[in-house]
């Protein structure tokens, strides 16, 4: 087992037809810890898959170095990296049966026949695909194919597992099941795993560590809770959480200590955030607040509230989403109970100020 280290890695793609260059990974420095489940998360085209393929050796960086453990593998073959990969479309060899699919890599590495047999049986048992060994991929269901793809990686006993959106081709129910199995499997094997996804739920449930990427640059590294509660910038704030964090234009003013002014309402700022906001007095900031941190002021009996106009109410069973706006900012509140809305569609929204965040409107980074 081994950790992975990126040192100033840059990968550029040259498109021959359009003669354009795209920087897929931009001066990446990243330490992926040994034995943990690390998730690379981001929208499509953010460089997460390229990062994974750089570890696999399917792409070679223009600049920088990649280490697996303490071996520098920047320009070496995939076969010399001791990694295994699960592809998004599974990439099973269609002309081989499941047994040969699992054994192909071991045969290439010239394992003795008996050991190959043992390992394939062991993995087939672990994944409960023993009775499928003689079948070809065409004869398998989507879930079974996914298991075979997983098995093909496990059977190699690699130092690192690389997974490129392995659940995206499964239906929603199966995906939730496999997610849990995957987690158990990784806990059991304890092998370093790098997992690419654009699905934040997958990332949050699976990842010991989540690396959020955008435009080839790392936006934030942390545990799920860190990302959710303390997003490093507006991109992460928007990307994590569903519905995403509300971002509202606001101004910081001094009046009995620091206050934040939304529309014409003044809200208190928690003491620990005041220090960082000193330099923003009388300036515009972006206020971030999660939908569940907005409450109904009347029901809670609060007297500090913002009067807003409700656009739409979505009833989701366990919860209610209230869409409203303040000036031009569209806002969503997630409430677990009923709401009281006046005849004129006016609603009194209470902001839980302990949970609010502040971002610089220009750099978009978190300031407090």
């Amino acid at each position: 087992m081994a950790g992975i280290r990126f040192e100033n890695v840059t990968k550029i793609f040259h498109q021959e037809e359009t003669r354009k260059s795209v920087v897929a990974v931009n001066n990446l420095n990243l330490e992926i810890p040994d034995g943990r489940f690390t998730v690379l998360l981001g929208p499509s085209g953010c460089g997460k898959t390229t990062t994974l393929r750089l570890i696999a050796g399917l792409e070679i960086p223009e600049r920088g170095d990649i280490y697996i453990g303490d071996r520098r593998v920047t320009r070496t073959h995939p076969k010399e990296r001791n990694i295994a990969m699960v592809f998004q479309d599974y990439a099973l060899y269609p002309h081989m049966n499941v047994y040969n699919n699992l054994a192909f890599g071991l045969r290439n590495l010239r394992f003795p026949k008996r050991e190959i047999e043992e390992r394939v049986r062991e993995v087939a048992k672990m994944l409960q695909i023993e009775e499928l060994l003689e079948r070809t991929p065409r004869e398998l269901s989507g879930g079974q194919r996914q298991r075979v793809a997983l098995g093909r990686a496990i059977v190699r006993h690699p130092e690192v597992y690389l997974m490129d959106e392995p659940l995206s081709n499964l239906d929603a129910k199966l995906r939730a099941e496999v997610r849990i199995e995957l987690l158990e499997l990784q806990r059991k094997l304890g092998t370093t795993t790098v997992y690419v996804t654009h699905d934040q739920v997958e990332a949050m449930t699976l990842g010991d560590i989540i690396v959020v990427m955008n435009n080839g640059i790392i936006q934030q590294i942390g545990k799920a809770r860190d990302l959710y509660e303390r997003p490093a910038n507006i991109f992460v704030a928007r990307f994590i959480g569903s519905p995403p964090m509300n971002l509202i234009k606001a101004t910081i003013i001094r009046q009995d200590g620091l206050k934040v002014k939304i529309d014409d309402t003044l809200l208190d700022i928690p003491k620990e955030k005041c220090e960082n906001l000193e330099s923003y007095i009388d300036k515009e900031v972006i206020l971030g607040i999660r939908p569940e941190d907005i409450k109904d002021a009347i029901i809670l009996g609060k007297d500090k509230y913002i009067i807003s106009t409700v656009d739409v109410i979505e009833y989701l069973g366990a919860e209610v989403l209230v869409h409203f706006h303040i000036n031009s900012d569209k806002i969503v509140a997630r409430l677990d109970s009923e709401v009281e809305i006046g005849k004129d569609r006016k609603w009194r929204a209470y902001f839980d100020t302990k949970k609010i965040q502040f971002f610089d409107p220009i750099t978009e980074n978190s300031i407090a």
Binding site: E16, A56, G57, L58, H77, P78, K79, I83, A84, M85, F87, Q88, D89, A91, L92, Y93, P94, H95, F104, G105, N108, L109, R152, R156
Partner: protein, 318 residues
């Protein structure tokens, strides 16, 4: 106000039924017309081949006249085949080596095709899935070469056969066809449609590049291999101009060249006679033509699936 139609008063069901019957009748008329036209044209299209086989079993002598035309041989005779193969020729006459012609045709249909399948699929794979410098330039060179008329290449190539001292040998007959560019293009088109992830999975599975080609790409390319194999065979069997140019002794003729050598139209260097043979010789010519046509017709019937598939490769996208 009275212009407003009361929707309920219209018998929608009746209208629908009438419309349905009308369309169905129209469709039937169309289908019948289509079948008549298509069948007529199919007869026109197949008539020459049919006529060749029928006439090859007829007695066609100098006295054969237009009144003797029948659409089936009422007195079938195998004399044309006997004449063509010179089965009843007296032993002191040096016979034309028709068996050799067939053998040569088989060689030119098989050997270059096999070599093309191997080397063109390798090159096509490299161009389709691998990354290397000059890839685009090499690909364009291949496409440009495909556009060049054959005659441009044939003249210098013909002279080269003399320089190589290959003229009138099997080398000249077979060797230049051992690799071509047309095949590369079609293999590239076809292999491009294989999922790249399978090849990458093999790479991660520690397979070497040759192993990826032989164990992954080739087995998955069976359809295109079959198509190219069938077309290669038919093309080789039917090839005429090159074998005609570079062979002189009739032991090297293919069946096609051998046939024309009897026609007096060509065959071998220096023979530049006009097509003068008359009715009395036509019987055995048709017998020979039938024999030359039968192998490809059999292949067509056995493998027409691949032929019909193959025509669309390269012409249609996706």
């Amino acid at each position: 106000m009275d212009k407003k139609i009361n929707i309920r008063s219209i018998d929608w069901e009746k209208i629908q039924t009438e419309k349905f019957i009308r369309t169905k009748r129209l469709r039937n008329i169309f289908t019948i017309t289509a079948y008549i036209i298509l069948t007529t044209w199919a007869i026109v299209s197949l008539l020459p081949m049919y006529w060749m086989f029928v006439c090859s079993f007829k007695h066609i002598g100098v006295s054969f006249s237009i009144e003797d035309i029948e659409f089936y041989p009422s007195n079938p005779t195998n004399e044309n085949y006997i004449n063509f193969l010179q089965l009843d020729a007296p032993p002191w006459i040096s016979k034309r080596p028709v068996g050799r012609w067939f053998l040569n045709s088989l060689l030119i249909a098989l050997l270059p095709t096999i070599s093309n399948l191997i080397f063109d699929s390798m090159a096509g794979y490299a161009l389709a899935k691998m990354r290397f410098p000059m890839k685009q330039a090499i690909f364009w060179a291949i496409v440009m070469t495909m556009m060049i008329p054959e005659i441009v290449i044939l003249i210098p190539l013909y002279r080269m056969m003399f320089d190589f001292k290959w003229y009138n040998t099997y080398w000249a007959l077979l060797f230049p066809g051992f690799a071509g560019v047309g095949g590369i293009f079609l293999f590239k088109q076809s292999i491009e449609s294989l999922p790249t992830s399978i090849i990458e999975a093999a790479r991660v599975d520690a397979a070497s590049e040759p192993k990826i080609f032989f164990k992954i790409v080739l087995p998955l390319s069976k359809p295109i291999l079959s198509v190219m194999g069938v077309f290669g065979f038919i093309g080789g069997w039917n090839s005429y101009f090159w074998p005609y140019l570079v062979t002189e002794s009739n032991k090297l003729y293919t069946i096609q060249v051998g046939l024309t050598s009897l026609m007096g139209a060509g065959g071998g260097a220096g023979v530049t006679g006009t097509l003068t043979f008359g009715i009395d010789e036509y019987g055995q010519m048709l017998a020979g033509a039938s024999m030359a046509a039968i192998p490809v017709i059999i292949i067509f019937f056995l493998l027409q699936k691949y032929i019909i598939q193959g025509i669309t490769i390269g012409a249609l996208k996706g």
